[in-house]
Amino acid sequence: MLSIENLQATVDGKAILKGLNLEVKAGEVHAIMGPNGSGKSTLGHVLAGRPGYEVTGGAVRFNGEDLLQMDTEERAREGLFLAFQYPVEIPGVSNMEFLKAAVDAVRAQRGEEPADSVSFLKQARAICKQVDLDQSFLRRGVNEGFSGGEKKRNELMQMMMLEPRLAILDETDSGLDIDALQVVANGVNALRNPEHAIVLVTHYQRLLDHIEPDFVHVLAEGRIVKSGDKSLALELEAKGYSWLEEEVA
């Protein structure tokens, strides 16, 4: 589904990704871990097509298409979703309106009519319940005055409404209490099936107690330096990253 080859990228002229390779197949869950500043968040934004993030080398194919040739919104419509680490507020635009616009944009790409309002609202309410957000959130401005935890749940809600082929969660677990973490895990596990793939970017092993990854990768200095199964995450938890950096050096 996603095939990254020797990806290099700069942010504000500074090289962050320095030859990254990654292969993600449908149905898989990958966890990407690594020390601060290793390029984890940058990877998510480069794949999503954030303005200002410049690809300087390598190739990315998404469902067989050249991802790097697509506009930001085109990537989203093709089913690439990024859950933001710090979701921004959009005052005055209700969550409902925002969700509807997003869902309809994706539907349009597939040649479908806009979702009918009644069943859309029904679905939105059901998902609200699943992510433990009160229904009144649908009427409130996007992330407007939300707490950190509510913002993360809102990201999750958007993900569940859009049912992306590939979901990248950028430290969605950070700053969450254990209950909220469980909600995130439930959301991700609900999306888990043979058609969808998930990439979890995380600092901590604890999320992986709730979502069992098929693969764990360690990102350091803009490259994936080690890959393994879930036991690698436990090893990192116990030993930190420094042994790896030494090993790589």
Binding site: R50, E73, I90, P91, G92, V93, F98, A101, A105, Q109
Partner: protein
């Protein structure tokens, strides 16, 4: 202007009767007492009105153009303006929409303007226009049943002279300001509304006007009188951009809300704003004011997206005790547009209330200023004002300015003012794009959200159109 020319024009009109041969008449540029008298004669006005116009003209000659607004434009040569030009002859008009500028049609399309209205607005000389007129006539019958008078002000001068004479200039005196004085001297036409005592106007006075509006000319004069306990909602303008060759517009609108009456006046202004380089465009210098008597309620709602330069402060004089004044405004400027707009709430009666909600959106290289005065006079005990003034910036080359003036001469009065400035951020746009929403749609959602409080004051069908209008007006402002 040569007496000979004048005589010729006047004579040709008399020879042909009042309404028929009007098409060939256009006065050469320039303004003097003869021109004022000519306009008055052309409209067959009574002596008092001619003298009223002349008095306005004489005062205007001694007045100076206001220079305090935050707008810049080349000095206007008032002697280069023609003050009387009759409507275009049918033969000179486009025969069908095929002959109309495709860009204009594309905009109508985007706004969802029905075909027959497109024809009316573009000035097409076809039966559809007459259809619209007959629709209007139907409305007038229905209004007449309720005793509502709704007609061109030139007609009201003939049919209801006592009402016009009593109220014309009672809210905006002839010499109120430079542009109001000019308008008083040369006003072309406009609307007259009278709602009798206790009558609730049976319909929004909008559809009719929407069609009629296209012909009202550059010095429009509107007078609305809501007699005791009556109610009227009036919508001026149209979301569709209107063709107009006149660069200078100076309108006056007067509202009189007698005891317990309510007037809701909504405006959608979308005159030509000039091109993307700032060439051309209408100068819109408008004086709008209402007087609210005891327990009366006047509400102004405006959506201003057009004109190169806007100078406009719809105001309420809260004369009677317990009267209410409201001002809800969305002013959007893009490219090189400049707007200096706001309101004045003059509290005179006791326990009066006013609310001001102003939303300014600046994009491109435009400049958008809110200017508002709240005055609490000494006898206005127990009165309150609440002002909320928000600015939204799109891009980094535009400007937003706020000039609130508060004069409180009564210790019991409460005046609140809140102001915010925000920007459509790259991060907001990125979030939208990442969810599949393109930038234009994202900007339009954000701007519409910003304006929500004002849009909900508009008549329903126009709230939707106003949203689309902002979208069209903002095209090309991002990315």
């Amino acid at each position: 202007m040569a007496q000979q020319q004048l005589d010729h024009l006047i004579k040709s009109e008399y020879a042909a009767g009042f309404t028929t041969d009007i098409e060939s008449d256009t006065l050469p540029p320039g303004l003097d007492e003869e021109v004022v008298a000519f306009i008055s004669a052309k409209k067959n006005e009574p002596d008092w009105l001619r003298d009223w116009r002349l008095k306005a003209y004489r005062g205007w000659r001694k007045m100076a153009e206001p220079a305090w607004a935050h707008v810049r434009y080349p000095k206007i040569d008032f002697d280069a303006v023609s003050y009387y030009s009759s409507p275009k002859a049918m033969a000179d008009r486009p025969k069908s929409l095929d002959e109309v500028d495709p860009e204009l049609l594309a905009t109508y399309e985007k706004l969802g303007i029905p075909l027959h209205e497109q024809e009316a607005l573009a000035g097409v000389a076809v039966d559809a226009v007459f259809d619209s007129v007959s629709v209007a006539t139907t409305f007038r019958h229905k209004l007449a049943e309720a005793g509502v008078i709704f007609c061109p002000i030139s007609e009201a001068v003939q049919e209801y002279p006592e009402l016009v004479q009593k109220y014309l200039g009672s809210v905006v005196p002839q010499h109120d300001n430079f542009y109001a004085a000019l308008n008083s001297a040369v006003f072309s036409d406009g609307s007259f509304v009278y709602i009798p005592k206790g009558v609730r106007c049976p319909m929004e006075l909008s559809t009719y006007f929407r069609i009629n509006e296209a012909k009202t000319g550059q010095f429009e004069r509107t007078l609305i009188i809501a007699d005791e306990g009556s109610h009227v909602s009036y919508l001026e303008g149209c979301t569709a951009p209107m063709r107009d060759e006149n660069q200078l517009h100076a309108a006056v609108v007067e509202l009189v809300a007698l005891d317990n009456a309510e007037i809701k006046y909504s405006t959608v202004q979308n005159w030509y704003p000039g091109d993307a380089e700032g060439k051309g465009g209408i100068y819109n210098f408008v004086t709008k004011r209402g007087v609210a008597h005891h327990n009366a309620h006047i509400s102004w709602t405006q959506v201003e997206t057009g004109s190169a330069v806007t100078w406009k402060y719809p105001s309420v004089i809260l004369r009677g005790d317990n009267s209410i004044g409201e001002f809800y405004s969305v002013a959007l400027t893009n490219n090189y547009q400049q707007a200096d707009t706001g309101t004045k709430m003059i509290h005179i009666g006791k326990n009066t209330r006013s609310t001001i909600i102003s939303k300014g959106i600046s994009a491109g290289r435009s400049s958008n200023a809110y200017r508002g005065l709240v005055r609490m006079s000494p006898r206005s005990t127990g009165s309150r004002n609440y002002t909320q003034c928000d600015s939204l910036l799109i891009g980094d080359r535009c400007g937003a300015h706020t000039y609130p003036y508060i004069e409180s001469r009564n210790p019991s009065a409460v005046v609140e003012h809140e102001a915010t400035t925000s920007k459509v951020s790259d991060d907001q746009l990125y979030l939208c794009q990442q969810r599949g929403i393109d930038t234009e749609k994202a900007v339009s959602m954000i701007v519409n959200g910003f304006c929500k409080e004002v849009f909900k004051e508009l008549p329903m069908e126009f709230a939707v159109e106003a949203g689309k209008l902002l979208e069209v007006s903002l095209e090309g402002s991002v990315g």
